[in-house]
């Protein structure tokens, strides 16, 4: 018999990405994101008169806040409700591998959707001289931010069998996290606490990327966040028997 490692199954990732790309939800999502981001970009592009995507990237944490939970909400909640997780988890595949595959699929789809902003980059290229370094680090920051949002959404989806509950709890926690990175909140807190809270905010780290700074501490923070929630999802899935 062939030796197999049931750790990672590209087949599962492929199926889920394909599902995103062919399901109404996925397509509506992509179109909406494209429309909203293009509109946000052009709304004051000619007023500001700068070859930069900064206005758009500044709004991305807020956009993602409502868009990405819609991508993750059904990853596990739906399977629990319909009972298909019983099929999936009795196939020769490990929980770990199921979770990582689902996370990757959601991330790949999100990356493709973010890629829809590429025409804007080309527009910038024709109309002016964008700062490529800043653009690149902004995109990188956007991807890390998205991955972190998705990891949290994935985890919360594994805790319920209700899509809407998964969606709303994810939005709720992301909103709290979002506001804890805002000046409005931070300026009212004592120095040290404000520092700690801001460090735990995903959007706080994201700002550096949009300014063209890639900080090691931010990268480590994002990666730890992603690993933590992917791991928690695995734990949550494994503890189904209790």
């Amino acid at each position: 018999m062939k030796k197999r490692k049931s750790n990672f199954r590209p087949l599962l990732v492929k199926e889920i990405v394909y599902h995103y790309l062919t399901s109404p939800l996925g397509l509506i999502f992509a179109c909406l994101f494209f429309l909203v981001s293009t509109w946000l970009f052009f709304q004051d592009f000619f007023l500001i008169n700068q070859a930069s995507l900064k206005p758009l990237f500044n709004l991305i944490p807020f956009l993602f806040l409502f868009f990405l939970p819609a991508i993750t909400m059904n990853l596990f909640a739906e399977e629990k409700k319909s009972g298909t997780w019983e099929i999936l988890l009795t196939l020769p595949i490990k929980e770990r591998s199921v979770v990582i595959s689902k996370f990757l699929a959601a991330f790949i789809f999100t990356s493709l959707v973010i890629g829809l902003t590429f025409p804007l980059v080309i527009t910038l290229r024709f109309l002016g001289h964008p700062d490529w370094g800043v653009l690149l680090s902004s995109y990188l920051g956007g991807l890390f931010l998205a991955a972190s949002y998705l990891a949290l959404g994935l985890f919360l989806s594994s805790l319920t069998d209700n899509n809407i509950v998964a969606f709303l709890t994810t939005v709720f926690f992301l909103l709290i996290n979002f506001f804890s990175g805002q000046e409005v909140v931070l300026s009212r807190l004592p120095g040290l606490i404000a520092q700690i809270i801001s460090f735990l905010s995903l959007t706080f780290h994201y700002q550096f990327f949009t300014q063209g700074n890639i900080l090691i501490s931010s990268l480590i923070f994002y990666l730890s966040w992603i690993i933590l929630f992917v791991w928690l999802t695995i734990v949550s899935l494994k503890s189904r028997d209790y």
Partner: protein, 214 residues
């Protein structure tokens, strides 16, 4: 679940009986490795369920399916997840589609299939990797009498080289196709009877069932 112990041989069809909430589904989930027992041991050909997934085919209660797929896509997906490929994949696909009577429905989306056909798709998926042990949780519930008959016929057809464990509410069904029945009540095994012996002793399954579970 408490204190349940039994074994099954190749070629045997075992019926799992018990009132609702007796623990039939939990027992089956334990055998398939979906749940892990807190105490005790389950082995399939000497392997724990998690390592024996290729040996087990499972049709869960309510027959959950990824209904966005067509029947053929779904079966192919499950087969590939079982590491089937190439000629072997095609051969198994043909086999289950033919034996479960899905020829005409292969290209239909599962969503649009009738309950009886959905059940066949579920059964075909459970059989696709040619498992030695087939576990079915109430495979005939919700089907009309004709569909029930067909599923029963199917079960008997595939039984020769496999071990089959299935749960049911219908006592006559168990009597018709099982060699042995296991009765579970309140999480305990209350009876394990050979049906041929039961018949020889002229004890009716129905009386035995109601005596033990009331």
């Amino acid at each position: 679940m408490n204190d349940i112990s039994f074994s099954a041989k190749t070629g045997e069809i075992i019926g799992f009986l018990g009132p609702n909430g007796a623990g039939k589904t939990t027992t089956m989930r334990l055998i398939t490795g979906f749940l892990i027992p807190t105490k005790g041991k389950i082995t399939i050909n000497g392997l724990p369920p998690k390592k024996a997934r290729d040996l087990i085919g499972y049709l869960p209660e309510e027959n959950p399916l990824y209904s966005r797929f067509t029947a053929l896509e779904y079966l192919t997906f499950i087969a590939k997840m079982h590491y089937l490929s190439g000629a072997q994949l095609r051969q198994r696909l043909n086999y289950v589609i033919e034996n479960c009577g899905l020829q005409e429905m292969a290209y239909q989306t599962i969503e649009t299939l009738s309950r009886g056909y959905r059940q066949r798709v579920g059964l075909a998926a459970a059989l696709i990797h040619n498992p030695q042990l087939l576990i079915m949780d109430e495979p005939t519930t919700g089907l009309d009498p004709n569909q029930q008959k067909e599923i029963r016929k199917l079960i008997q057809q595939i039984a020769q080289k496999k071990t089959i464990i299935f749960s049911t509410h219908i006592l006559s069904e168990a009597e018709a196709i099982c060699q042995r029945v296991i009765i579970i009540h309140q999480g305990q095994l209350v009876a394990q009877e050979d049906l041929a012996q039961l018949r020889r002793k002229r004890v009716s399954l129905e009386k035995l069932f109601s005596r033990l579970t009331q």
